[in-house]
Symmetry: C2
Subunit: 401 residues, 2 copies
């Protein structure tokens, strides 16, 4: 969200208008590494996926990626064999201008589904995008902006690791997850680092980061057909990291993912509240995640937050159907720091006061903990979601064709 976010060494980016969006807004983004980079990707598990997902998935992990081309305004999904050919043609066009092989370029598309890509616009736009590549923070902002669909602000984040031999930088851009008819928006993320990584290490670090960020957010529980997060690591920092510093790098990647993912929730369609759900005291992280996800996806929990209602019953009962075999007596819950449910029993609290705190603060915090008995342990998970407002319904029920 800051304008001060620098690109890692050896990367250049661009964001331009090529005419896919009727609004004339930027719709073509390019992320290029000057030298071949390790590349990894995490993709939607939806069986109905866009052509670019199929193409990019087949090209990672890689040791020799050169760039990522992204268009917004058209998702190239539900477009059949012609769509696959178009996605490949986009990468071939970029490769031909950059002077590399087609398989070194990854591709993402987001926007309306079921409509063929306007390839003539992309064929004109791609050389123009290459011409406008640059390595300033403005260039990264422009690329982040050209990925946007219904987002109201562009999303970037950055972290640094410093040691005696220099600086390693991790910077990223993302676009939001909510979906508006008949456009099917999607969540896209690009993470760039000038650290030197093997494709396997890049893959592991990206999965670790995505599992604790993009996979922990929920706007409406609907999984898009095009969700993609890509990582390029080009080694251009020239810095050698110790084993301990490599863990710092993994943590920096996770933090960039988290900042981008929570920005998506802060920009969720029609939302009034940003909700952080901390679930702790479970035997496995998977159990904690299941419980956190059910809470985040409950329309009743989300509407309660909209109404500033400290409705512990809805939260506790959502936990109860997550498929984790605990007993009621093990559960306790705090809302915005106030204990409302302790060891399976409602606690007397000042409801008016807690409701006021939920009304006055955009951020709401649930802390659900399990103690003693079956499924209890030391594992936790943090998830994020937004509330569910009448404005969300209005935005998503407006018939726009």
């Amino acid at each position: 969200m800051s304008s001060e976010i620098m690109l890692p060494a050896g990367f250049r980016t661009a964001g331009i208008c090529c005419g896919i969006k009727a609004s004339g807004r930027p719709d073509l983004a390019l992320f290029v590494s000057d030298a071949p980079a390790a590349a990894a990707g995490v993709f939607t598990t939806n069986r109905v996926c866009g052509a670019p997902v199929t193409v990019s998935r087949s090209r990672v992990p890689s040791a020799s990626a050169r760039g990522i081309v992204i268009n917004s305004g058209n998702s190239n999904a539900a477009t059949g064999a012609a769509g696959l050919a178009d996605a490949r043609a986009m990468t071939a066009e970029v490769a031909s201008v950059l002077g590399c092989e087609e398989h070194q370029i990854l591709v993402c598309s987001t926007g309306v589904i079921g409509v063929p890509l306007p390839m003539h616009k992309l064929q004109r736009g791609i050389p123009a995008a290459v011409d406008s590549l640059g390595d300033s923070s403005i260039h990264l902002q422009q690329a982040a902006t050209a990925m946007m669909t219904t987002d109201t602000f562009h999303k970037t984040a950055s972290r640094e690791i410093r040691n005696a031999s220099g600086i390693v930088r991790v910077s990223g851009a993302a676009k939001g997850a909510a979906m508006i008819a008949p456009n099917m928006a999607t969540m896209l993320g690009v993470i760039l680092t000038d650290a030197s990584l093997t494709p396997q290490a890049a893959d592991q670090m990206l999965r670790h980061g995505v599992d604790r960020s993009f996979n922990c957010i929920s706007v409406d529980g609907h999984m898009s057909t095009s969700d993609t997060v890509l990582l390029l690591a080009n080694g251009a920092s020239g810095v050698t990291l110790t084993e301990a510093e490599n863990l710092q790098l993994a943590e920096a990647i996770r933090e960039v993912c988290e900042e981008l993912a929570t920005s998506i929730i802060r920009d969720a369609e029609g939302a009034d509240h940003f909700i952080t759900v901390d679930v702790a005291g479970f035997e496995t992280r998977q159990q904690a995640e299941r419980v956190a996800r059910e809470i985040c996806e409950s329309a009743l929990v989300k509407t309660a937050v909209t109404g500033a209602d400290p409705n512990w019953g809805r939260i506790v009962s959502a936990a109860g159907y997550a498929g984790v075999a605990f007993e009621t007596e093990q559960l306790s819950l705090r809302i915005n720091g106030t204990e409302v449910y302790l060891s399976g029993t409602p606690v007397k609290f000042d409801e008016a006061d807690l409701s006021r705190s939920m009304k006055e603060n955009r951020d709401v915090h649930f802390e659900l903990t399990l103690a003693g008995g079956p499924c209890s342990g030391s594992q936790s998970a943090r998830f994020w979601t937004s509330d569910l407002t009448a404005e969300y319904v209005r935005l998503n029920s407006e018939y726009t064709t």
Copy 2:
């Protein structure tokens, strides 16, 4: 919904006001079999469940049930050990007035959670309810009305099987599933039949019926802490059914369950549309159910229907994340009989016309079929849901304490 629904032989019911609801509306229902009956029950799988669920679950299947006592206005959930004692005391009170054992009585409660039951009101109300027991259709209506919380109409249904030796009747009552803060409403169903069944046969027939009805509806995907469906079979018809007629009985029980379950969806909070989702062509019924459930629980699908938007992309992509491993090319979809997606490719159709049909009809029909390739076969599932309106958000976000 009809006033002509007769009770099966040997049953009497009552619905009275005992003062739990501040509104003064009926809040105590009784269903009594004059002779011991086979009893079966299906209960919420939520780990956080009301005390009456714990008590009733421990008493079925049974060969000697005499009745069911239900109060509305207070769910006796999240009430700890005192709540369990209160649930048992309700059944003891009924048993003492009827002259049977406590374990022969089942119990359900629905309404506000975390508040102790006003036992003095129930202790006065239960004898009064027994006094007003009767076997007319009005008595069944009164019992169905006394179960209601946020329902706008009472829900009853009935079927008959006739053979040379007489008539077997199946009649039922239910209340709705939606949940309003701070009350946690729930879905309750009672099925009565004068057929003679073993407890095991009663259990099998009830599970079969519930699996294809109450388990196939979704208002908001939130599983209540108190959902319960109970079946009593007292044999008072004196009719012996052949093996073939027993299958008819199972079908009659399923039909009564379906009519009650779909009534709940027709009465869903703030809903404008009743949506039937038919999913066919899968290898197993479980796969078809998973796909149907994801479609029913997608906020994006539901808001599209609210907006009369024939948004096939949202429906198809919800199917795609159900965890069933088909390929896009196998999928086809009809909305209100119009083909909109065929073998993975969008079909040209008159969008304005289809949108008009969705706007003018309260009932909307999706037919999703799988053909050829992985996971395809002859299994299907039918689910029902409602749309998601701004009115739903308003009802569920109003802070009512």
